[in-house]
Amino acid sequence: MNCANGLTVDQLGVQYRMVKALSDVSCSICPGRLTGIIGPNGAGKSTLIKAMLGLIPSSTGVITFDGQPLTAQLDRVAYVPQRSQIDWTYPATVWDVIMMGRIRKTGWFRRYSTVSRRAAAAALERVDMAKYRDRPIGQLSGGQQQRVFLAKAISEEADVFCLDEPLAGIDKKTEAIVFNILQELAADNHTVLVVHHDLGQAITNFDDLILLNRELIASGTRKEVLTGSNLQRAFGGQVNFFAGEAA
């Protein structure tokens, strides 16, 4: 699968000291499609996103977006880390976190503009968290924390959205809101890439999938990727995926 102005991963390899975490991954992620990265635990799903953004060093490979190296245009990327990566006891309110999404647009030594405040308020409204604006982040539920981070990503007005397990350990309401917004973002012709942790029913929300297990097993539309033999290769013996999808 190839697409113009998309995100292209070409022969990406990542090595942690002596261990190969990912080798020779090549795939394309198209704008206008909601793309999920799936695979078993330790398959290198988060590693793929982090290596693409240059957050961890890669040993081989080139990542381009819109024809240019992705790491040279990180201001066009909104990244949502895993919730466990964040210190939720940090002294900040929901509003403080959302406004962090406007830092690059604002620039060094400047104060936030009215435009930024409006963008942040709209993003907060969109994830249905407006009334929690002044709440300390430590007092939020897991789902609320996830929605705050999604709102921060929206307020960045980015072209590429990379989310690391946004659905892990959250409530149904948040899951619905998150998928709704991700699909809207994709429909607006953004490039949306999501690390997804299981093969349950939620997987039907994705248009395209990238199936990993330390190397690329398959990538393409959901139907193309979710075949018995692909899943067998990625997960080995025990496959417990959403039955309606198996071809």
């Binding site: 964040i86 830092i103 430590g138």
Partner: protein, 296 residues
């Protein structure tokens, strides 16, 4: 009452020391807030102990000891980062190794030079605020202004970096530079506080007022403002206690700061031990486990 407050101020040495103590209270609490939210309190201790050889070398080659202390402090963070990134040694172990070695070198050098000069190791270890000179007050004032200006200018970037370093890197911020900048601010702050509280107790000024404020407010800038106010309150109260009861000034300031912290820990409206009782305190669980051992 008023006489009680005014009496010490007729001495110019008391004016200078009070002013220094107030400046140190402000700058330490503000910069220390960054250390606390990053869980890097030990790094403050590491840098402060590491400035000692810089002081000694500056004294030997006859340059400003502020400069020597600053260079040694920054150099120690470079060595810590180098060990941590080039080996499997964790950050806390790297800090422990580096700061104790720097500290040992500093004590050795100062012991050698203090035989034939009037330099006194104790003044660096515990501070000697009553002997600050006009020039030292000006140095402290200049450093305080520089540090606070940088924090105001880089506030939003430093907040993002200390909250979510990986997210900050992903948004394209130069996180290594921000981290190094923060180290420089911390080293400058410690250098400015050297004369007031010394290398061993400066950690209290960096951490305690900010931690007290953390128990009372929940936004970073409020924590800095309240921390600075508590730092100033500790400094002034400590100085007056030291004047009237002939106590050592640095330790008096630190003990007042600790007293304020204990008050907040016990009575904070949201997180106080007495206002928000925990359901199962740790000591009871341990007692239960001990009883369990004998039952079986």
């Amino acid at each position: 009452m008023l006489d009680f407050l005014i009496e010490p101020l007729q001495y110019s040495f008391m004016q200078r020391s009070l002013l220094t103590a107030v400046l140190v209270g402000i700058v330490c609490a503000t910069v220390g807030s960054y250390l606390m939210v990053q869980r890097l309190a030990l790094l403050g201790d590491a840098i402060s102990h590491s400035v000692l050889p810089g002081v000694a070398i500056a004294f030997i080659i006859d340059v400003d000891i502020f400069l020597g202390a600053f260079i040694a402090g920054v150099f120690s963070t470079v060595v810590i980062t180098w060990i941590r990134t080039r080996s499997q040694i964790k950050e806390d172990a790297a800090m422990g190794i580096v700061f104790s070695a720097f500290f040992a070198l500093g004590i050795t050098l100062i012991t050698i030079v203090q035989k034939d000069t009037k330099i006194d190791l104790n003044h660096f270890l515990f501070g000697n605020i009553l002997s600050v000179t006009q020039q030292e007050v000006i140095n402290t004032l200049v450093i305080t202004i520089i540090v606070l200006t940088v924090i105001v200018l880089l506030y939003k970037e430093l907040m993002f970096y200390t909250f979510d370093p990986i997210g900050a890197q992903a948004s394209g911020l130069p996180t290594n530079l921000l981290n190094f900048g923060l180290m420089i601010l911390i080293a400058l702050t410690i250098v400015a506080s050297l004369k007031a509280v010394g290398v061993i107790l400066v950690l209290a000024m960096l951490i305690t007022p900010g931690a007290t404020a953390y128990l009372l407010v929940y936004r970073l800038h409020n924590m800095m403002f309240l921390g600075a106010a508590l730092g100033v309150l500790s400094s002034i109260t400590g100085m007056y206690l030291s004047y009237y009861y002939n106590l050592p000034s640095g330790p008096a300031i630190v003990l007042v700061a600790f007293g304020l912290f204990m008050l907040a820990l016990c009575f904070s409206p949201t997180q106080g031990i007495f206002t928000q009782p925990q359901s199962a305190p740790v000591q009871f669980q341990m007692w239960r486990e001990i009883k369990g051992l004998f039952k079986s």
